[in-house]
């Protein structure tokens, strides 16, 4: 390429990169008010702007449990219809154990869930276990639904640009930049909460009294739940089946409202399937008590007065805030399976600001030292190299803004580190030119030999460094991944600046037939 062509290329690159990187140096308000600024700056990582990072895992055991409970309820329905004796049906430790008319039950199981479970006979009972593939499916489905639910919830919090993505098998990554209130954000997770309606089988004023009523202990398919007042003192213990009549996943809507006495209540509405089940159930259990349980806690347990259809309301001892946040959680859909918080990183905004300050300070000092050294050591050529390094940094910032890459604290260190590596290419070239001069070549051929003989060295050393950066991107996470991205882009930029930018400066400065090089 002609010298002129190269200068045009350099000018275009520099202007474009400046334009792309400029917004990162301005605040949001400035960006909005200046027409010449792009709106998108570089994305800052959570470690710099503060925020919350979560890695959530679908609780596999719970997913299996839920799946088996569905199978169990199908079996008991069919058994009732087909008049097959079913003595007990228990889901425990990843297995469904059925007792009763075993051949009949086996037939039902094979018909209704033959694909999903393996059935065995053990100690006079049928034991059904979920097949591996179905377990995986259950987890995948759980993860997909949870993802949607979390999206709605986080949006409900008003987080700007949250990141909610699946991360490998049964895992979800949630990043909420700028969120400061950890407890409030925790509400999103508390959405592992679900609403269940269960028939009350028995009740007593306290757990001890209720247990005293049950000489044989709590039956395997039943459990005791406590209803609590706001003071935290238990007011009633209820005996309920483990299996719920209905769960929050069939809700269509839930809102906070006030009753006639101006107390906060939650009104809800079922979808058509939920409405059908609810109507049938309430119709056939008039006079009995139905407990609404949220998060394993009894909110209310009124007596069913009449058949209830699509709409209903829950009156409990809530505060306004509790009612409102519960309604949001119910509305966005219940999380189908509990999520385990595997990793949390909450960075306060002040720490992020400290990090930016430290990072920028170290970069300026580091880059300053390098610039100073190059100018002293290689005189005029060193100044050219420094100008090329400036283009290099602009390219890193510009490319990162353009590709919406995330700048992290290690990333800032990475920018200066690539400046160090970019220097290397120039050092290789300059030392080579000096060598050629020493070997008695004239100025012109020294430059051209210096560049051509260094090319493959620079190429090879960059490829291996790119390899390490690529591995960082693939395997690293969060800030470290950002570091890899910065290094990768920086290395690409460094090849360009060393081979094209510095060269153009040299060719222009020394002209076609230089006498002496200042190197």
């Amino acid at each position: 390429m002609s010298l002129r062509g190269r200068w045009i290329l350099i000018a275009v690159v520099t202007v474009t990169m400046t334009y792309l990187s400029l917004p990162s140096f301005f605040s949001d308000e400035d960006r909005a008010s200046h027409w010449w600024l792009r709106q998108d700056g570089m994305t800052l990582g959570l470690d710099l702007q503060g925020g919350i990072h979560w890695l959530l895992r679908i609780d596999t055991d719970a997913a299996v449990q839920r799946e088996l409970e569905k199978v169990a309820s199908g079996v008991s329905d069919s058994a009732e219809e087909g008049k097959v004796a079913l003595a007990s049906s228990v889901v425990k430790d990843g297995a469904l154990t059925l007792r009763g008319d075993l051949p009949g039950l086996r037939k039902i199981l094979e018909e209704s869930a033959g694909e999903s479970v393996d059935v065995e006979e053990q100690d006079g009972a049928l034991v059904a276990k979920l097949r591996e593939r179905w377990k995986r499916d259950a987890v995948e489905r759980g993860a997909a639904t949870s993802l949607e639910v979390l999206r709605k919830r986080v949006d409900g919090l008003g987080v700007r640009e949250p990141l909610i993505v699946p991360q490998g098998h049964g895992r979800i990554l949630v990043q909420m930049p700028g969120v400061k209130d950890r407890e409030q954000a925790g509400e999103v997770l508390k959405t592992t909460t679900f609403l269940e309606f269960k028939l009350v089988l028995d009740s007593a004023p306290s757990q001890e009294l209720l247990e005293a009523k049950l000489p044989n202990g709590v039956p395997e398919d039943q459990m005791i739940v406590l209803s609590q007042t706001r003071g935290g003192k238990e007011s009633e213990a209820l005996l309920v089946p483990k299996k719920a009549v209905l769960m929050g996943d069939l809700l269509e809507d839930a809102r906070m409202d006030f009753d006639r006495r101006n107390r906060p209540i939650i009104t809800f509405q079922w979808d058509s399937e939920g409405a059908r089940i609810f109507r049938d159930f309430t119709g056939s259990h008039i006079g009995q008590r139905l407990a609404a349980i949220i998060d394993g806690k009894v909110i209310t347990a009124p007596v069913i007065q009449s058949k209830i259809g699509r709409r209903g309301e829950i009156t409990g001892d809530f505060t306004r805030e509790e009612a409102s946040s519960t309604a949001i959680q119910l509305r966005s859909g219940a999380l189908p399976i509990p999520l385990v918080l595997e990793e949390e990183r909450t960075i306060g905004p002040s720490l992020g600001a400290d990090s930016i300050r430290d990072g920028v300070r170290a970069s300026i000092l580091g880059a300053g030292l390098v610039f100073l050294f190059m100018a002293i050591y290689y005189s005029v050529t060193g100044v050219f190299v420094n100008l090329a390094l400036v283009v290099n940094v602009l390219m890193i910032l510009g490319l990162m803004s353009a590709t919406k890459a995330t700048m992290t604290l290690p990333g800032i260190a990475g920018v200066v580190l690539t400046v160090g590596m970019a220097v290397d290419s120039n050092v290789i070239i300059c030392e080579r030119i000096r060598e050629e001069l020493r070997a008695g070549k004239n100025a012109k051929s020294s430059i051209s030999l210096g560049y051509s003989r260094s090319f493959w060295t620079i190429f090879d050393s960059h490829v291996t460094a790119l390899l390490s950066a690529a591995i960082l991107i693939m395997i690293g996470r969060g800030p470290v991944q950002g570091f890899g991205v910065t290094l990768f882009i920086g290395l690409l930029a460094s090849m360009f600046t060393a081979l094209v930018v510095t060269r153009a400066f040299m060719d222009s400065y020394y002209g076609p037939n230089p006498e002496r090089l200042r190197i």
């Binding site: 918080l341 990793e343 170290a362 604290l409 590596m421 000096r434 996470r477 290094l487």
Partner: protein, 319 residues
């Protein structure tokens, strides 16, 4: 300005047996330290919870002792409490290694308990907690990343040079990583994700050095053949010596700046880079070239045509 007024003429090859011996010894010592003492892993790799907080002026002059009492009361007598920054800032880092699944609740309860005991709300600077599964996965991924980059470089050097060059390059990298990690193990410096990243950068960096010298060896072999391989290698190392020292020195300027004013988060990373770049420069000169000479002497070295027309290769077997 020039580093060396005249071209140096140091007999590096002659020093190689001694240096390789020293390298073997320090590598073995590093491995022993890693095997016996292990690493002071951060919660990234081991799981656990770290709280960084600042007690407000209203809480009075809180010190480590006071926090220790409160934490013992809250059932965490083994938590490590370290003051961060100036005493007047009242900033502390509280870490609890090894984690339970209910870490979220743990940090919430601890913060509530501390607020109650101090009678005022502490300022939470950061909360990090990593579950045991994630910790062991990150450890596995870290080892995988390092081994992958070794293998990748082995293949690349094999492809771009002769196979006789590749094992030396990779051994030098193994040497650098083991030594740096060994020092972290020996001194009990905290080993976190950023240190792991630094090890990968060291691999890339040290490789860079090695390639520069290998390139020069190959170039010189092309004109002078391999009968005097030792002197060719000496020549190659000597003629690239000022570059080797300059580049390491310039990169170290950046790393030293990071060490001095870069703040606490990246201190471990900067330390690892500082050590790794030093050792990487050394290993390029002494380890990579030594192994390469040995392999080329034993198995021969094919001589490529002179650069830049390197496509035509003539296979001339020597020795």
């Amino acid at each position: 300005m020039e580093l060396f007024k005249r071209k140096t003429n140091i007999d590096f090859v002659k020093q190689m047996p001694l240096m390789v011996g020293i390298s073997v010894v320090i590598t073995v010592l590093s491995l022993i330290s890693i095997g016996v003492k292990g690493f002071n892993f951060s919660i990234d790799f081991e799981g656990g919870t770290v709280l960084e907080l600042q007690t407000p002026a209203a809480a009075g002059d809180v010190d480590e002792q006071r926090l220790r009492e409160i934490l013992t009361e809250l059932g965490q007598p083994d938590a490590s409490i370290v003051r961060v920054g100036e005493p007047a800032e009242h900033e502390f880092r509280i870490s609890m290694r090894g984690s339970q699944e209910q870490d979220r609740e743990l940090s919430v309860t601890l913060l509530k308990g501390m607020n109650q005991a101090l009678g005022t709300d502490v300022v939470v600077k950061s909360v990090e907690s990593v579950g045991p599964r994630v910790g062991s996965e990150l450890r596995r991924n870290g080892v995988l990343a390092i081994v992958l980059s070794w293998v990748g470089i082995l293949i690349y050097v094999w492809f771009r040079f002769e196979w006789q060059y590749a094992p030396g390059a990779v051994l030098a990298l193994v040497h650098d990583v083991v030594f740096t990690a060994g020092l972290f193990s020996f001194f009990g410096w905290e080993f976190d994700m950023n240190v792991l990243a630094a090890l990968l950068v060291i691999i890339g960096y040290s490789m860079n050095d090695t390639i520069v010298i290998y390139d020069r060896i190959r170039e010189t072999v092309a004109t002078r053949g391999t009968t005097e391989l030792e002197s060719v290698v000496n020549e190659a190392i000597n003629s690239t010596l000022s570059r080797t020292i300059l580049t390491s020195g310039v990169t170290q300027l950046v790393v030293i700046a990071q060490l001095l004013v870069g703040g606490p988060v990246l201190h471990g990373m900067a330390l690892a880079l500082f050590i790794g770049i030093l050792i990487g420069t050394y290993s390029t000169v002494y380890v990579a070239s030594a192994v390469m000479i040995w392999l080329a002497r034993r198995y021969g070295h094919s001589v490529p045509a002179p650069k830049p027309e390197r496509r035509a290769r003539t296979r001339t077997s020597t020795t």
